[in-house]
């Protein structure tokens, strides 16, 4: 693990009472890389049911590239960490999840701006802006059986808690992902299956839940190691 956490102190290298710095966001991205690596087989299995069976491998390749980039040096601000990660995903994933997750992180990062420390409320707002950009790019809405069905409830839960409760965001994302099982796909390759897409969890929603779980994990470390 990189960096000590200094709760409440100005020169923190992680989370604090006032907010989160670049080290926290780097830890989020590394936790996401770990989770994607651990769950790659499950993502691919979900994708083989209603897609083209490459989601696990694609996400693993993308987030490993993000990890390597961060190993070479963590950008100075939360926004630049997310923009760097997003750019890396667009250039390495090779499937639709590359531009979608890339847009999510880049727009979220761009919305955070140049601040060295961001509050939970700012993160909730920026995440929501990032999700709007994903919805616009993919032309998808809630209930279309996509990553949005995990991301949107997570961002809402985070906003409802004033940006404080990362675990609530995680829980909401996992619930949203599970609930895609009953939905019929209306976007992406799975939509060609029509009603046959019902009964399978959406792989993009599953990976989005991993991303939100990684956020909670990064937050848990920040709280736990003070």
């Amino acid at each position: 693990m990189s960096g000590k956490v200094t709760n409440g102190a100005g020169e923190g290298t992680g989370g604090s009472a006032e907010g989160w710095d670049a080290a926290f966001f780097a830890r989020w991205m590394r936790a996401a890389a770990d989770a994607v690596d651990r769950e790659a087989d499950r993502l691919t299995e979900l994708d083989s049911a209603i897609g083209d069976a490459d989601h696990g491998g694609n996400m693993r390749r993308g987030f490993e590239a993000v990890r390597s980039e961060l190993d070479e040096g963590v950008p100075a601000t939360p926004g630049s960490v997310l923009m760097t990660a997003g750019r890396k995903l667009v250039s390495t994933v090779g499937g639709a999840s590359g531009p979608l997750y890339g847009t999510l992180l880049r727009r979220t990062g761009k919305t955070l701006g140049d601040a060295e420390v961001v509050t939970g409320e700012e993160l909730a707002g920026a995440l929501s802006a990032g999700i709007d950009a994903v919805a616009q790019l993919g032309g998808a809405a809630a209930g279309d059986k996509t990553m949005l069905d995990a991301l949107r409830p997570a961002a809402d839960a985070l906003a409802d808690s004033g940006g404080k409760d990362l675990r609530a965001a995680r829980t909401a994302a996992e619930k949203g992902a599970e609930e895609t099982t009953g939905l019929q796909a209306r976007k992406g390759r799975a939509s060609y299956l029509g009603e046959r897409s019902i009964g399978h969890q959406d792989p993009g929603a599953a990976s989005a839940a991993l991303l939100m779980a990684a956020l909670a994990e990064a937050g848990g470390e920040a709280e736990g190691s003070a």
Binding site: S91, G94, A96
Partner: protein, 138 residues
């Protein structure tokens, strides 16, 4: 129409999940246009030749065909479309101006290449490609 560009032609980039599809459509469009050196190139697949969409392959192709009059991109579906849109919305990797054409890959490529080879500007190239949707086959 191309006054400001000193006769430079619009470059066309064909983005497909498959390298073979992209390259074959590019050579077919150039042949049908009767312009062997038409400013069109394929940007298909991953850098290792596998199926997929690569930002790197697309941006390299765009730089290759950019002669200063702008670059028009056509894409097949899914991640090919999303990657181009992401590059246009977020990045500075593509030459300026660059534009994604709302057209089917094969039919749109023919119209775009004929128009670009004849000296049409980016708007004319886009209009020619997008006209492909008005041709009904049944």
């Amino acid at each position: 129409m191309a006054d400001a560009n000193d006769g430079a032609r619009v470059g066309i980039v064909l983005v497909s999940h498959s390298k073979q599809v992209a390259d074959a459509v590019a050579s077919m469009a150039a042949a049908l246009a009767g312009v062997p050196d038409a400013p069109v190139t394929g940007a298909g697949g991953l850098p290792d030749g596998g199926l997929g969409t690569s930002e790197e392959v697309i941006t390299e192709a765009a730089r290759r065909v950019d002669a200063g009059a702008g670059v028009a991109l056509l894409a097949d579906l899914g991640s090919a479309v999303l990657t181009v849109k992401t590059l246009l919305a977020e990045g500075d990797e593509l030459p300026d101006p660059a534009r994604l054409l709302d057209a089917p890959l094969v039919e749109g490529a023919i119209g775009a290449v004929v128009t670009a080879a004849g000296g049409g500007d980016l708007a004319a190239v886009a209009a020619a490609a997008e006209e492909a949707y008005t041709y009904r086959k049944v």
